[in-house]
Symmetry: C2
Subunit: 464 residues, 2 copies
Amino acid sequence: MSMSGGRGGRERLVVIGGDAAGMSAASQARRMRGPDELEIVAFERGHFSSFSACGIPYWVGGDVPERDRLIARTPEEHRARDIDLRMRTEVTEIDVAGARVRARGVDSGDESWVSYDKLVIATGARPIRPDMPGADAPGVHGVQTLDDGQALLDSLAHTRGRRAVVVGAGYIGVEMAEALIHRGFQVTVVNRGKEPMSPLDPDMGRLVHRAMEGLGITMVNDAEVTKLLTGQDGRVRAVATEDAEYPADIVVFGIGVRPETALARAAGLPLGAHGGLLTDLAMRVRGHENIWAGGDCVEVLNLVSGQEQYVPLGTHANKHGQVIGSNAGGGYATFPGVVGTAVSKVCDLEIARTGLREKDAHRVGLQFETVTIESTSRAGYYPGASPMTVKMLAERRTGRLLGVQIVGREGAAKRVDIAAVALTAQMTVEQMTALDLGYAPPFSPVWDPVLVAARKATAKVRAR
Amino acid sequence: MSMSGGRGGRERLVVIGGDAAGMSAASQARRMRGPDELEIVAFERGHFSSFSACGIPYWVGGDVPERDRLIARTPEEHRARDIDLRMRTEVTEIDVAGARVRARGVDSGDESWVSYDKLVIATGARPIRPDMPGADAPGVHGVQTLDDGQALLDSLAHTRGRRAVVVGAGYIGVEMAEALIHRGFQVTVVNRGKEPMSPLDPDMGRLVHRAMEGLGITMVNDAEVTKLLTGQDGRVRAVATEDAEYPADIVVFGIGVRPETALARAAGLPLGAHGGLLTDLAMRVRGHENIWAGGDCVEVLNLVSGQEQYVPLGTHANKHGQVIGSNAGGGYATFPGVVGTAVSKVCDLEIARTGLREKDAHRVGLQFETVTIESTSRAGYYPGASPMTVKMLAERRTGRLLGVQIVGREGAAKRVDIAAVALTAQMTVEQMTALDLGYAPPFSPVWDPVLVAARKATAKVRAR
């Protein structure tokens, strides 16, 4: 084990994790301070830097033709910007008192301590894989990394059978189900919840359910997977629940991720109720002046519920990195929190949510009214107008907007941004009824569906 | 002349104008109060009620197959809701002191006075038609009413020539140019401004110019029409500017509208600098407790500039009607103002704006920074990602958002709603950089184009 040091007066920024949050932080810090002022060393244990995990389902489904399209910036590109990115190098310990990290070559096994003046923890997430028989059998896949995606594609290419089971019906589960349909598989989705797409309330998830059935996907709700059955060759052959068995040549797990915070925990850094690192508004780890954390390993403040939440999304990771890099580079920026916006699609059905679902609002003690309206994507008389369903939650008495869910065809998903901004500004649904939104027959009815929902919510709040 | 009266204790609400604002007001008032409490009499001088003027270009272009699709509610449907809608009946005088209006049958010429307890003025707009030789010749058309649209369609069907000239390159001019291309005409657009689409700054209008040329439209900028030349048959044969003549078998004027406020002016009601009625926040005509006005005959407060503005758009007219009907029905609602949002399209190029253009900001004394960025509609690696240009204006020092213009393909237009809500909430561009907008590869790059613009604007404001 060696000890690197001797930096000739330059500060050293060490980054753990070479993906969205870590490399955004490194890049932004580099923009703020040149290599003569700040040395930047980044460690990534995998084979790839700065890739779009959100793009994996589209690569697996064939919409994105090749893996490398998902890589936003290669290690060489980072190095060309004077970022010393060390691939296949894992950090195995953070010594906070000594201001150093221990790094180990994944292939070589060589270890060394690297000291830091400033540290960024961007260790990401690890997929949840239930501890059950057969969970590691050949034919069972996750889709967290590009390596996972490649392994799945190889498996799809070599499997003779055509039956796939997806476990989980959140964003990844639903997107993977569609991807597997595109690859010519018969797909069954086994889901613990009452309806697919648990980021929505079940009444809205029901609309997604119908669309999935329309694609030929078999949807099994209210079902907990108990074990994976394997054949004599050791490969997976079925997924078992308490009630049934679903034959499977391929199984894909998409039941979510947890913050990868084992290193942080061992170092005594503060973790929240969801296991993620806790930071302040400048993305500094609480109580630590020179340590920042961001991306899928941190918890974020939900501005609507007022509580910390775990929201592992690339869009937040990029913003965290930007904020961390500005601060670590001697500037100033903050990440105030999220409102819980997410969008997805199944075939041409667009799915969007922001703010709180009914159960979120109950959990934090809010009383509220809900409305659900049907409208159209364009003026009713304009060709291509398609139905759109908008659900809206508003606080009782105050009328403050609490959440919006939208399911529909073209133009449904990004309409949720109207509500995302309104939530950030803490608008009431009555204030929303006066919003000056874009109107022309090809783009909206004269009352935008979000305004129709806001009007109905206003009437309901007023009536109580 | 007769005098109607004797209402058995019921109040009478009189509405002048049977289109969006007037009939929305009547409908909402009826929802609030039944016919035993409130009598509603509405006068419309034309042949149609509650039609979508915004839809006329799409009807003329053939996207909307028939006229009646543009009628939201027929006179019979209004009457079935106990609204006494009198078609082809013109109000010729408002007697404010006597609380009565004089109505005249357009066809019969019969006149009578009708008294009111509450009055709604929704007289709409009249198209600007320059006072020049040939302006009334056969073959010269406007597109304000359904009758105008029908006359134009008849003219298109019977004209042997295939050359059309559109005068004006605002929303209507550009939409009509495309409609005429769809009908197989060679189209020249003669435009007074430097670039088409004057609701945008010229640098953004330039992008629309290119798209119009791509459709085969001949665009003539910086050109003022001086006269229309007619042939021996009296029909229009060319449009003349100072420099040139443009042969024309059909001429369509789309150079905007003015508030139709002759009645209001004669009655001594308050008008603003743009000739529109001035109202308070409840849409009451200033100084008049029992008179409301809304739609294309009023001026509205621009919440960004702090000044009254004339914005004749159906979306505002419907909101005005809603607010007026609530108040006239004994409830309470307000219309706080507009931020100047508008969207349109030329072929598949979407065009959007909100807030102030550079010249608007100059006019009201604001100092500002501008940025223009290029991004894409979807993640760069996702199929169908197309370029999008976003221009953003932010106030110097404070960084307050002042305006956004967007030109691009799918998803460009309604993205402006993000900025419309942010303007309403008086956000700074730096606050906007933290907005939790929907992200998934089919819908947006990981940094939404609006966020990219906000980041660049933030950097520019900070640097000054």
